[in-house]
Symmetry: C2
Subunit: 410 residues, 2 copies
């Protein structure tokens, strides 16, 4: 969590962190929004010295939004960029290096400086290469698991409260969606609208988006896929598809509080009734789900939970991604992942070969989402809940409570 | 536009483009979505050889979404990443370099290779530094105005059609919002809800979000700011503020088609009546708006249009950002900017010192958004429309038609 940052910086010998907030990435630049919170700051730079409060360099016309962040503030206009550009004979990259030199000088930043945030690949590599050559600080970058990702691997009480709220609101949307489906009449096993035409995936998705907006959630695109599409985990669904009884619907919804924390929940529904093979597969998925949740702890490597899932599925004759990374029929993905300001964060819960040394920690929040997929048979199943390792008890608590039932009465 | 890419690559001596699509950035990674279109591909890598069709390397479980892109496809699982990681003794960065070597070898990529897309600063700098050292290709990056930004500076017919649609839907939302305000009764100059409590900015924003969702637009955060807040261009508005007659409301709305192209429109409203000084300032802003639109062409530098705006405002006694980059009362920002898949794209329309050599081109789409801001007097004004330089006629056409009137009858 954020309070670990100064320790983590010390461990890695970092004198300062610089988080780059370029225009355009907005709330997708989560290393930046980790510090700015809900304020609508579209660009800027954050500088955090070890044991120091962070400073935000912001555009003058964003001063009100900047003030909401609680960071110390400097207006970028203090640095008169157009004069610096002129001094650098129009070379905007050289000007950015010179601007950075002046800013670091004013803030007393020197030594080993780590760089974070997201930006265009071209801007990053050109700028950091030039900054390294200028040699007034030592430019440090980490390929993965950087100091900010590491801090974000555990959530503080305020973050847990926000994720709980995101889950609660998301479950409200799931419930409204189920009610919406149930309100439709059925003819020849197909759901019909008032006007007698078939309800489509596009109609349902439009309903979901409006419910999310009404709940104060940002839609990040959801999966509502039926039949064969449900058998392809990241197929988001075919807009024109009709909603037919007895077919699996994978409904994977991952909205977030506006500009903030995600929830990530999946339910699989069969409207009216479930075919026997689907019912049996669903029960096996739930067994894996429950066994994994019961096994979650912070001592074992995360690949051991993936192994647990693969062991059970393979013992029942299903192919798994552990046997073949390109498998398309069987258990085809990892068991879960951390989330927070990003929908995928550390830790991953994948195979040993891909993630050999990850563990969960007190304060970690992860999904638990085993599934079985048989696109050629026309079905797929995934059930996903969110778990938090409560640091006070060491126990994993489930943050999601929505009914997991497969069959939705019509 | 996209069809210019092969020429632009030739001019810059590039043998291939690589667009990085890391997990998590989604539709904010617009160099990536420029190639994937509306498909929900959450991660992958795009490789475009000069004069060649692009290839998308995608996750196996995203194969259906990948197929919607029209790109040639390779499943990432072909490369058995866990084996490469093992060969690299668990060094995931070294494994990515080796994976890239194998991929480039299979695709026949060599020579000068440009890198694009957005990613975390740490991942980009670590990876491209390691790739440069490996020396099997020459790593090229451009700090700004890279080959993809340059292509995107002009829009093809399909893109213009999508931006037109985004504008049309956005104008629908603006109209619904005006109707919504007008439906409220007024007491003591304050808008009241059914229950007798005051309508707030938060209520209006919630209405706007629901209307956007119903229209099939992604909300990217809008500005609905009243009174003093309207005087600070990027203040997004104070949620608890009441809606009072006679105060300026700056309503700057910039949603996009789901995962796609933006519109960017601003209206300033005074409900009931406008004070005389506001009415006079509004007329001056409209004069600048109209004079600038009439002057738009592709021969002059874009800073000349900003100069035109500053000349008019200064002649009427207003301070401008040309005189003082940190100005907070007067004309405090640039005249406009390109947009498309990003809400801010090339070309900028700022001061000569910041943007000395930009011009618009046939096919460019830009905003025209002069404004006047007096936070200390409690008001601000901005009127923003979108213009497209039609390559067939050379004329700038206004893409937005919503009534620009200041006073909204109550």
């Amino acid at each position: 969590m954020k309070s670990d940052l100064s320790c983590l910086m010390q461990e890695r010998g970092l004198d300062a962190l610089v988080v780059i907030g370029p225009d355009g990435l907005g709330s997708a630049n989560t290393a930046f929004t980790y510090f700015t919170g809900g304020a609508h700051v579209t660009n800027g730079t954050i500088v955090v010295k070890r044991d120091g409060v962070g400073t935000l360099v912001h555009a003058t016309m964003e001063r009100d939004e900047a003030a909401k962040t609680g960071l110390q503030l400097i207006s970028a206009s203090n640095y008169k960029m157009s004069e610096i550009i002129q001094q650098c004979k129009g070379d905007r990259l050289a000007a950015r290096v010179e601007y950075t030199r002046r800013l670091f000088n004013d803030l007393g930043v020197s030594g080993r400086v780590g760089f974070y945030g997201a930006d265009s690949v071209g801007s990053t590599f050109s700028f950091l290469s030039a900054l390294s050559r200028a040699e007034f600080v030592e430019v440090i970058t980490e390929y993965e698991n950087d100091v900010i990702s590491q801090a974000r691997k555990t959530k503080d009480a305020q973050e847990v409260a926000q994720i709980r709220q995101a889950c609660r609101l998301t479950e409200g949307v799931i419930g409204e969606t189920r009610d919406f489906l149930q309100r439709h009449r059925v003819a020849d096993e197909i759901l019909l609208k008032q006007d007698g035409t078939a309800l489509t995936i596009a109609d349902v998705k439009s309903f979901i988006r409006r419910e999310e907006a009404a709940a104060g959630l940002d839609d990040a695109g959801c999966i509502f896929a039926i039949g064969r599409d449900a058998g392809v985990p990241h197929s988001s669904g075919t807009p024109a598809d009709q909603i037919r009884l007895g077919q699996t619907i994978v409904f994977d919804i991952f909205p977030r509080l506006i500009g903030g924390y995600y929830a990530d929940i999946t339910r699989t529904w069969c409207l009216g009734y479930a075919p026997d093979d689907v019912q049996a597969a669903y029960e096996l998925v739930m067994k894996v789900h429950d066994d994994a949740a019961a096994a979650f702890n912070t001592q074992r490597f995360t690949y051991e939970f993936q192994d647990l899932a693969c062991d059970i599925f393979e013992a029942r004759g299903h192919r798994t991604v552990r046997q073949d990374i390109g498998v398309t029929n069987g258990y085809v993905h990892s068991l879960g992942h951390g989330f927070g300001l990003d929908v995928h964060e550390s830790p991953g819960m994948s195979m040993k070969g891909l993630r050999p040394d990850e563990k969960m920690m007190p304060g970690t929040i992860v999904t638990n989402e085993p599934g079985l997929y048989y696109p050629d048979k026309g079905w797929g199943i995934r059930v996903e809940d969110d778990y938090w390792c409560n640091p006070e008890t060491g126990e994993f608590e489930c943050l999601t409570g929505f009914d997991r039932g497969l069959v939705v009465a019509m």
